[in-house]
Amino acid sequence: MSRKQVSLVNIFISSFIAFMALFILGPLIWLAVHAFATSWTYPNLLPDGFTFTWWKTIAGDQELVKSVKNSLLISPIVVLISAVVCLPAAYAFSRYQFFGRKSFLIGMFAANAFPKIGLYASIATLYYTLNLMGTIVGVIIIQLLGTIIFMTWIPAAAFGSVPRNLEDAARDAGASKLRTFWDITFRLALPGILVAMVMSFLASFDEAQGTYLVGVPTIYTMPTKMYALVLNYPVQIAAVFSLLLAIPSVLLISIARKHIIGGQLADGFQIK
């Protein structure tokens, strides 16, 4: 390409980046400013004044505080159960050939490919019979379903990428099977497992549709409380609550960012 063409392409790309920055970041920044705004006169581009009142209002609202507590209680439980249920399976998928392996794989993907809201309505129907409607256990199960694919697939890819000759070398040097697993296989697969845990935690923490269908009105988590906030409270309150809700995502993702974008996540979605 000639120099002129290159600079034209660069201008196009730069303006596209500017558009994407506005498209992606604009709504988030606009929302964040609302959390500190006293009031806002249309069509000004800045609020009339800045304040922390809305943050105090939230801290004083028992129901909102309770939903924060619920979220912080339920999500770790979900991740823990998910790890116990899925990590052995992840290892098995990466290391063993067994009866039904192919059907298991396709079944898991089929489950993940169901349109979420239809699936939740079906589950809620069964929950009436099982007496799980509006219970913590019911919410935990709903959220667990969303974590299975992360907790099985990402660690399976991680276990699979541990070089076999390292394990063989450890065994030759006299390490026991268990020791080889802990010191070699598990340690090398650990980044993948942590990414899976981060993704599972966020999947559970941010799950709103299913939790809303089976938990409300007895159990509110932070995301389901948002439905009420958005429709019935001042914009600023919902904005403050949004920022609170985003804290775990921002923290966890900045820790695990490299691995997630490095392809651990994408590895998990192909039938192998």
Partner: protein, 313 residues
């Protein structure tokens, strides 16, 4: 072929280790499958029963609580539940909006993701990295927050309208329209499509692209004779998951869409919770399942095709 080998190296980890069947492996892999059988498979079968008017057994309680439930009249059930949904004047509009938004938003998402992923793969550099990192941000934002943020950004007193007013432009209020649903779903679906397609394109060997360039192939030609065919499976996965995700979404259309006609995800929730008509809710769920399974067949076909090519089955 180079491609087959590289895929084999990456993907054959599971296959070549143990040739003999392992019961140990089977039982280790069983727990998540059992969870899925109990809480995905069983509920769907039971809900299918409810949609056909089987109101006994596990559906007994919901049939007692719910209103306007038709009970089976034949050994195989009844279609009255389906008929009542189809005859509801709202349903046609709801279905059209659901399919329309799905097709439009999926098309835009895939083209944007393809464009950015190809740009990053072929040209690369700092601008490409900025562009891709920017587009991945929505992955880390809970969907309730994104829906709410987009709602305030495009509403009657939102940023877009405020800004353009200063230039004397009377921009329409997008919030509570189908355009806003499309914007919201594009916003939330973009990262997954980019990750998927990007990782597919990264697997294409540099040598292949360079030799095509040396042989004088144009940029466009490289895209459609090398990049798209070699990254075909990831592109199909991105497309199917995006489309199915949009079809089954609730929060985005709930916050951003008009009250009527609404996407089926919103109607399913309304019928289940607000109107207490679970049978109609489940019938609509099966309409969505039907549409999604057509898309899913495409996905399974693409996966099997790639598995055959790399000699895994």
């Amino acid at each position: 072929m180079d491609k087959t080998n590289s895929i084999n190296n990456q993907e054959s980890f599971a296959v070549n280790k143990t040739a003999k069947l392992s019961w140990f492996g089977f039982f280790m892999a069983l727990p998540p499958v059992l969870v899925i059988i109990c809480f995905v498979g069983a509920p769907i079968l039971i809900a299918a029963g409810l949609s056909l008017g089987f109101t006994g057994g596990p559906n007994r309680i919901i049939a007692l609580i719910g209103q306007e439930i038709s009970t089976k009249t034949h050994w195989w059930g009844t279609l009255d539940g389906y008929k009542s949904v189809i005859n509801d004047p709202r349903f046609g509009g709801d279905l059209r909006v659901t399919l329309g938004v799905t097709v439009v938003a999926t098309t835009i998402v895939i083209f944007m993701a393809l464009g950015m992923a190809i740009y990053r793969r072929v040209i690369g550099g700092r601008l490409a990295t900025i562009l891709v990192s920017l587009s991945l941000i929505p992955l880390f934002v809970p969907v309730v927050i994104s829906a709410f943020a987009i709602r305030t950004f495009y509403d009657g007193t939102g940023f877009v309208k405020s800004l353009l007013t200063h230039f004397g432009i009377d921009f329409p209020t997008l919030t509570m329209t189908n355009s806003a649903i499309a914007i919201g779903t594009i916003w939330t679906s973009l990262p997954f499509a980019i990750l998927m397609i990007s990782s597919g394109l990264q697997a294409i060997p540099d040598a292949l692209i360079e030799s095509a360039q040396d042989a004088g192939a144009s940029f466009i030609r490289i895209i459609y004779t090398i990049m798209v065919p070699l990254a075909f499976v990831p592109i199909v996965i991105a497309t199917t998951f995006t489309a199915i995700g949009i079809m089954g979404s609730f929060t985005i259309p709930y916050f951003l869409g008009p009250n009527q006609p609404a996407m089926l995800g919103v109607e399913i929730t309304n019928f289940f919770n607000s109107y207490n008509r679970p049978q109609q809710s489940v019938v609509m769920a099966f309409v969505i399942f039907g549409a999604a399974s057509l898309i899913a067949i495409f996905y399974v076909w693409a996966n099997l095709r790639s598995a055959k090519q790399s000699g895994r089955i």
